[in-house]
Amino acid sequence: MKYLKFPGKMEMLQFNSEQFNSLFPFYFLLNNKMQIIKTGNSLAKLIVINRNEPFSEVFAIQRPVLETVADFKSSVNLCNQLISIKCLKKENISLRGQFQYLQQADKILFIGSPWFSSVEEIKENNLKLNDFAVHDPVIDLLHLLKTQEIVTDEVKVLLNTINKQKSDLKRLSLLAQETVNGVVITDASGKIEWINKGFEKITGYSLEEIKNKTPGSILQGKDSSAETINYLKQQILNKQPFVCEIINYKKNGQQYWVRINGQPLFDNKNMLTGFFAIEEDITQEKENELNLQHYEERFRIALEKIGDNVWIHDFESNTTEFSKNDTDFLGFDLSKTKINPQLWWNCVHPDDKWMLNKNNAAYLAGEIDHHNLEYRIIHKTGQVKWVLDRGIVFEKKNNLPLRIIGTHTDITKLKEAEATINTQKQFYETILNNIPSDIAVFDNTHKYLFVNPKGIKDENIRKWIIGKRDEDYIKFRNKPSYILEGRRKLFNEVLKSKKIKSWEEEVIKPDGSREYIIRNMYPYVNEKGIVELIIGYGVDITERIKIEQQLKIAQQETQEAALAKERFLANMSHEIRTPMNGILGITGFLEKTHLLPKQKEYVHLIKESTSNLLVILNDVLDLEKIIAGKLELEKTPFNVSQKIKAAAESFRHKAEEKYLTIKYKNNLPENLFVEGDPYRLSQVLLNLISNAIKFTEKGTITIGADIKQQSKNTIEISFFIADTGVGIAKNKLTQIFDPYVQAKADISRKYGGTGLGLSICKNLVEIQNGNITVESKEGKGSTFNFTITYKKAKQTTEPKPIVLNFKGLKNKNILVAEDVEVNQYVIENMLKNWGCKTTIVDTGKKAVQAVKSKSFDLILMDVQMPEMNGFEATEAIRKLSNKQKANLPVIAVTANSMKGISSRYKSSGMNDYILKPFDEASLFAVMEKFLLSKYPSKKIGVKKAMVYDAAKIKALAKGDDAFIKKLSEIFTRTSPQIFKALQEAIAEKNWQQAGKEAHKLKSSINSLGISDGKKLIEDIEQRCKTKKQLSTVALLCNKFKIVLDKSIEQLTNNFLN
């Protein structure tokens, strides 16, 4: 129960607790100990206060400010004052209210409410509207505050907006003020209120001077268009905007053109408040326009003078005016086109109309502002004409063309010419495009001007590339840059050299096949000598290259076959000769024994058969050699007459056996010496005589020779062998020289022989630069004629026929190295017969061994032996430290008669060779050279035997074998030429020239260290230069030739084979 005391009436009001709480929900009651003994419901909700909790622990009095801590007494004194207390337990909570001292109870009652600064705080402190007494205005005050806050925010926004507008306005007015154009604002009746600086500047008037006057009244004058003035008045009267151009007058009376752009101004209520106008000085613009018109006029006249038809088309009225009204173009009167705008259109070729339609549409859409068309029109006469139609917009409206001006030019002739050129161009392009070779034409900066489809297949690329450089193409094709560099280099070379350049290219195609192309770059040089174009073209030579390759293979195969054949022949020859050596040798021994007449005949037959076999063998080999070009001709001086005689004589016996007469009709001098191969001459003669005897049953064989012609140095001799035999059928005459052919099929049966004889004769004659012919009558006989040209030679004493004087060989120690037993036996017997002492070994190894252990005078060395062959053995012997043994004469005994053998035995250090089968005489002849005293055993050794100085060459080459080879090659190639020149100069007695040639030879002879030749050539040079002792120069030359030939032979064998 609470009591409230009303002063004055002293009447007590009574409330119950609930009532009191609802009136003052934030009250609290303090006892005199300043403890809080009671609190209102809402206060309890706001702050937790324990019962009897001291006031000072919960609250502090903020206002009024107390000097000491509030005690009960001082608090009582605070009654009737506004009290603000702060809550110590919770931040930011303070109460506003008043103390009331309750005397009776000696207590202080606080009545008040929490004081918040915003509505949000109520919620933050968990309070509701109901927690406040209904009479409490706190909440409403806070809401009022809130409303005020909202309004303040609104006002801020408003202010901002206004500020912005203000600054915008400021800027605008500045614009209006500062713009170069004149700005004028009038009131609703058109009287000036405001003008900007621009207006003052243009007109020269200031605002004070013209305020409240109408602009028209001060600016317009006598040249101002009345029509425009009227328009302006109307618009203003009707409150309408206005745009016009008019002549105005400045204050100083000067005229100017102005463009006026005016706008009525209305207020919110749509009431006219005035006018606003911008006045732009367009005097300059007007002048330009005028100039343009003049210019246009002049231009049009110029165009017309040129002969073009000038037109102007107006899109709005869709009319066209033409400057030339004559009937040139269409055959119609063009002046009427203005009335009939379709006239021109109607004449346009139907196939070309689309072009004009498209063009027109583009103009009207504002897409183009000029055009350039070529189309056809049909003349009144029906003739089709080409016209070049060009035009440009010269007047616009709303940014779209209003009028265009242009020209029509008759280009019919041009077109016709173009067409002709095109046909021609097509003609040539068809050719170029169909040539099966790729062609590209470049200008001199390597830009493509043309390329045909063979060059670039893809049509688009082909079009694209024109005008591009080759490097663009390489980049486009992603080819490696070295290709470009390569091509560029070639291009520049051609540009520089101005000469065609060709090269072969191998192209590997994706499928792996190869293509070969000859590429050419051909410069086209104009009259000024400048390369204008470069034409590149390629020709596919794959077919050719393939054929070449096949040919090469075929050639190789042929060569290999030839080689195989050669090897086969060599083997065969070897295999036959080896046993034959035995047969012949033993037959020889047999012959010397005591024999019954019958036995003698048999032995003779064996000998003859063997000889025949040998002839056949030799024939076959000879022929092959000749055919293979491997026959080596000798060059020795010999007496021709003697050779003929010997050949004739050798058959006398045989002839007599058949009762045939041999006549000898030699017209050559008895002692005619020539240089050549005597053996090959004999071979031909013997062959022909043998044939003659063979095919003649009775009559005469005539053998003879004549000088056909001769010069100072050469002599052509013709030989003949005539018989009275069976003759040769006419139809066979041409064949008889073919190998393996005989005149009659049955001949071989009847007469024997290989049929190679004549073929060999023909070949032998021909390789001696001769010629063989035959004349024959069947049944009457044949005459064979052949000629050979020889060099004349000085008479020499021919080696006398060998007299087999075995005595000199007595007790000579001979080493025989031979693996075939029969041949061992044959040689051993022959040597024993001559009184030699023999040692026989059957391998090369044993031969070397024997040489080491015993002393010999000579070695007969079979070439083919097991373990170590003859060559190897000889080389080993030559290397022995004992000089005498190392230099033993070694004679090769070989059954291999093929070419190369002789050089092979020489290079391995052998001194000579004898071919199996051999007879006593030939073996003796070869041995005699090395054993008898008249052939003093000279120092033997490969190196020493050489005419050139190997040591000197080697020193010169410093170990470079290729150098020696080159040196030899040059020497063997050039020195015969120089020598020939030397000989010719001597023959012509041109001594000066001869001296020069000799000098040339001298230096190369010197460098090779050919000492034998050095003295000779020096002599020759000396004599030619001094022109002394000239009679013997030719002789010296011949001597020198021998040395030269020898050195060439040696160099060839040792370094070039």
């Binding site: 949000e120 919620k123 509207l129 809401h143 609104e154």
Partner: protein
């Protein structure tokens, strides 16, 4: 009516249809006031012109405009500007409606020149209540309906509103039955 009402209409339009639409509405309404100040009273006519212009401009009925505006008023204006006041009004729909008569009396303190409506409640049931709307103004019952709907939304309560009586049919005032 106070500017806050017109401002709420402006916010509603701008927020949903853009500033240009608002300019159009204003142009159409013929109201030539650029800024509404919340605690300034404006002629009621302004509010009605704006509401009609919105209806015409957006091509919806006036009733729809008023309902939408009512909802917007509660959910946006009330909640955003006087959130604590709204919350202090009660912790659920029923409590709020029971307090409603008191509620507007308070608002009158904040807006002294208000011509406030008077609310009374009766027939309080567990899940419904009768809200009596006594106003000097005509034609705002749809606005009131929108307000009541908005309150339902505010308290996440699905409500049905039934107009039991209205002035047009001769009653003294409008009575809405709000059920939830």
């Amino acid at each position: 009516m106070y500017g806050i009402v017109n401002k709420a209409i402006e916010d509603l339009v701008i927020e949903n249809f853009g500033a240009e639409k608002w300019d159009a509405v204003k142009l159409r309404s013929g109201v030539d006031i650029d800024f509404f100040i919340s605690n300034e009273p404006y002629d009621d006519d302004v509010t009605f012109k704006l509401a009609s212009a919105v209806s015409e401009e957006l091509n919806i009925t006036l009733s729809e405009v008023l309902i939408a505006f009512g909802e917007y008023w509660v959910l946006k204006t009330g909640k955003e500007k006087y959130g604590s006041l709204m919350e202090a009004g009660g912790s659920n729909l029923k409590e709020f409606l029971v307090n409603l008569p008191n509620f507007h009396n308070r608002i009158m303190l904040m807006f002294p020149k208000l011509t406030p409506p008077e609310f009374k409640v009766s027939n309080l049931e567990e899940r419904s209540i009768h809200v009596h709307y006594i106003s000097k103004r005509e034609g705002l019952q749809d606005f009131t309906k929108g307000l009541l709907q908005g309150l339902g939304k505010l308290y996440n309560t699905a409500v049905t509103i039934e107009l039991l009586e209205d002035r047009a049919s001769g009653s003294h005032h409008e009575i809405f039955k709000v059920s939830w």
